[in-house]
């Protein structure tokens, strides 16, 4: 089911100051205690992930995926998404991701709990499609568009 040949290329944490822009134009995901649950001042970018599960439910969808860390050890993380209703309105309905799909990068902010859980802000698909999950431009951009 999973492509174990996936190699870990890079796992980096980019610290950035969110300042005034944290919640600006944040229609899809800013509604449920995001600041309290997640460290929105930290951005994590994980590379070469394989989709394990994509669940479209309310109040939040979830994307579970695997990738190999720097030591080559497989990690499984889960990303919180917008609600099923908002994901569908963004063009991110159920057929868009399925187990085994490859993702170039998964970007988000980690849970304050320290678990392998984060709030996703962007997913880059292997085919070049990009799902922007927060901000005024939330939605999916197809490669070639």
């Amino acid at each position: 089911m999973f492509n174990m040949q996936t190699t870990f290329k890079e796992y980096r944490i980019a610290i950035f100051i969110v300042a005034l822009g944290v919640l600006i134009g944040f229609p899809a995901m800013a509604h449920h205690s995001g600041v309290a649950y997640f460290d929105l001042e930290v951005e994590i970018i994980q590379h070469d992930a394989i989709v394990v599960e994509y669940v479209l439910v309310n109040p939040h969808g979830r994307l579970t995926y695997k990738f190999n860390d720097e030591a080559g050890v497989q990690q499984e993380w889960t990303g919180e998404l917008a609600s099923s209703n908002n994901l569908r309105r963004l063009g991110l309905g159920g057929a868009i991701l399925k187990p085994g799909d490859k993702l170039k990068t998964v970007t988000g902010s980690p849970a304050r709990s320290g678990t392998n859980f984060m709030r996703l802000s962007r997913v880059d698909f292997e085919n070049g499609d990009v799902a922007q999950l927060v901000g005024a431009n939330a939605g999916i951009t197809r490669s070639g568009e």
């Binding site: 919640l23 205690s33 309310n58």
Partner: protein, 215 residues
């Protein structure tokens, strides 16, 4: 007989002018809120010491929505989902996609009955100020919050929320004032904005508790 006709004519004129003075908000409206989801700049929120203590003690578990409970008022004044507004003779219904929340705003002059218990939705009455609908909501629950970032709501008997709804073409605007003297030195003010969507849809919103929190 002539005087009766004049009285009838005046009555009709008054009725028609009164009816046309009211805003027409019926239909489906898609959320299109200002930055920060219409919440005030944090620097504009003036909390009392008690409010600040509540704010600092906030944990996500206090967010009703993360227990699959409807947000209620004031938290649910603004959310990123469509709403539908329906007029009836004695009430205006505000039907939220979010959590299937239903609000009944009584516009026939009634007051909250003595037996009404505090609740997430409270008790809402409305009146027209020209073409602006002014809603006052009382009997609100202390289980509520003002905003998910941790801004508290006391649910004290004296706490209430005033909303002013107005229409500008295809745009619907809301200014909401949360009056909670226990937690705020001045009302906490939110601003909502929706766009008329005659072809819009209100979808089902089932909340699954397993997916409401954080792992």
């Amino acid at each position: 007989m002539f005087s009766k006709k004049i009285v009838l004519a005046f009555t009709l004129i008054l009725f028609v002018s009164s009816a046309t003075a009211q805003g027409d908000f019926e239909g489906i409206w898609m959320a299109n809120h200002p930055p920060r989801m219409g919440q005030p700049d944090p620097s504009a929120v003036k909390m009392t010491p008690a409010g600040l203590a509540e704010f600092e003690a906030f944990t996500p578990e206090k967010d009703t929505q993360l227990r699959c409970l409807m947000p209620g008022i004031p938290l649910g004044l603004i959310d990123p989902y469509p709403i539908e507004i329906v007029y009836q003779e004695h009430q205006i219904l505000i039907l939220y996609e979010h959590f299937h929340q239903v609000r009944r705003v009584f516009i026939d002059g009634r007051k909250a009955p003595d037996h009404w218990q505090p609740s997430l939705g409270g008790y809402s009455t409305g009146e027209w100020d020209g073409d602006t609908l002014v809603i006052t909501t009382t009997h609100l629950s202390p289980d509520n919050n003002t905003w998910t970032a941790g801004y508290p709501f006391s649910g004290d008997e004296s706490a209430y929320v005033v909303e002013r709804w107005s229409r500008d073409g295809d745009e619907l605007n809301l200014t909401g004032e949360v009056h909670d003297a226990t937690n705020y030195e001045k009302p906490y003010v939110v601003n909502g904005h929706w766009t008329f969507a005659p072809d819009g849809e209100i979808w089902e919103y089932e909340c699954i508790p397993e997916y409401a929190g954080v792992k």
